[in-house]
Subunit: 341 residues, 2 copies
Amino acid sequence: MSANKNTTLKVIAERAGVSATTVSRVLTGKSREYRISKKTEDLVTRISDELNYEPDILARSLRIKQTFTVGMIVPDISNPFFASITRYVENESRKAGYSVIVCDSQEDTKLEKDAIRILKMRKVDGMIICPVGKESKHISNILKQNIPVVIVDRYFPEFDVPCIVSDNYDGSVQAVNYLVKNGHRKIAFIQGVINTSVNRDRLKGYIDAHEMNNIPINKSFIVGEDFGERNGYIGTKILLNEPDRPTAIFGTSNLISIGAIRAIKEEHLKIPDDISLIAFDDQPYFDFLDPPITSVRQKKDDLGNISISLLLNSLRGNISYEKKRIMVPTELIVRRSVRKI
Amino acid sequence: MSANKNTTLKVIAERAGVSATTVSRVLTGKSREYRISKKTEDLVTRISDELNYEPDILARSLRIKQTFTVGMIVPDISNPFFASITRYVENESRKAGYSVIVCDSQEDTKLEKDAIRILKMRKVDGMIICPVGKESKHISNILKQNIPVVIVDRYFPEFDVPCIVSDNYDGSVQAVNYLVKNGHRKIAFIQGVINTSVNRDRLKGYIDAHEMNNIPINKSFIVGEDFGERNGYIGTKILLNEPDRPTAIFGTSNLISIGAIRAIKEEHLKIPDDISLIAFDDQPYFDFLDPPITSVRQKKDDLGNISISLLLNSLRGNISYEKKRIMVPTELIVRRSVRKI
DNA sequence: AATTAATGCTCAATCGTTTGTGCTAATTTC
DNA sequence: GAAATTAGCACAAACGATTGAGCATTAATT
């Protein structure tokens, strides 16, 4: 009925009248290799089934130096972006026989370091990290210890490790181009955590798109310092009180954009009549906001699935562990938050 | 520098010229108890520090039958409701020295059973389960094996186990009362997964509030069968095409309500002019929807924090492990999706 | 001075697997 | 019919920690 708490190899061995070694070999599918007779094999498997045997995973892990667990570190699990990625990672891991230990770094490098220490202590077979992104040394240290790691979302150009990232540059270019096409030339940029790859790439896209369109950059239009709602709110407040107010705001995260909407409402302005808004990282509810928000969609399913399958591959020893950067395309979802001027 | 991969008790023991036993006792703080001299104690701790010793948690767990891990099962980690709860659970667990293994049951009882099997196999010290809620036997089985469990969100009245739930009944009563106060008498109810406690309690609140206000129940106003967006959409479509259309819709989850909004827009109706809407489970962005949605807020922080601290308490052997149901109050957040008629 | 008590530690078993090596009996080979 | 294979398994040592019991040595007691 219920799994017997104390069925060990030894118990099965006794009942079958063989050694624990033999039982182990049968149950790990090594009967052929070690010439266990069909008869004993059947006997052992039968008894094992009857007793509902489940190997003690701790003992096994201790011996074989594999835990069949992967560690996942995210800056904020309650952010739908990371929650979605986590979901795909968990699903695929389970199918492959791995469990996922989740750590939330709360956008804090210190906690991230701690999480890495803990995951190493727990002997995870590999890690998927969505790094805070401000520092990288503690992450390159993992590599030196030969623990497979996959980086998602924010990457570090300076060292070789598989990274799965959205095409942030292109998404940013698309967004700005779209604004320009609609007549905007005064486009503000509310950035996220400075010195993260994500922010750098989006900023570069913003700048390059301006150049491509021969529009000078107004430095006071670039504000902000993290990906949170509050930052979007504050940034927007500042922008709206510029003497030369922008005609459009590009909020580089879903939360930043929500904060921007709050500030805009507070100033009794209308989107898009008084000011246009474009967001990064599309959310299901963007369709139902007032007005529906035009945004750059990131493919969270691909980010999650690619990263976990890359990790699993390298865990299985497939040398196809290419130390490459994988770009997942972004897509502009046009709704009604941008006005033609 | 980096944690030495192979510092074991034995290594320290050799360097210190003592036995592994002594080292173990020193490092687990049992020097006094086993009369280890201050001198050896200092020596051992010094060497341990120098070598950056971290105990092998697998070996230790194997021996002491504790893993310092807790399992967390949720129906959908990408649902902000569960993601938030998970966040609090993870934070508190880490502070207490526990790690969290997260499993996503995808609202599927079969996967939930599987998750339980896996977590047991991994010898988690305890579990926090947000059950799918349609079946309970597999959960009561865990209890029989004396694994501490805390249930969150959806509970089972039939057996004794700590449950942390929102006051769904009261939230529902508040919502209906508010609608009635605004002149509504034809109130539709789009329900979630039938036969879950959450749904039963919300439905009962809906019904009782009708009774309290002497309003008869119209059975065709009760539709739906799960907590998803699609269900909200379909339910609303049906309701809007009733001959005797309701004047207000009560969507019993955030996703259901989003689906309702989609259907209402599709039918070219206006909230709240043509139809009023009230949602269960407030979301940060509800404030920015068109119009801002009135909703019943659940305190996810309390749900998460109470459940993990209850579990940790019982893990620490505090007999205060009361097999009780803990109700977390809900709160009506009035915005502008309900019209006075 | 002999006995008792306290001090400071070690031995060896144990947790449940896995694995290299070795051993016996049956079978094949020449 | 002796030697060489092969089949079929068991022994015992890991993995790295914890723990009850025990053993010297020194100090205290009578």
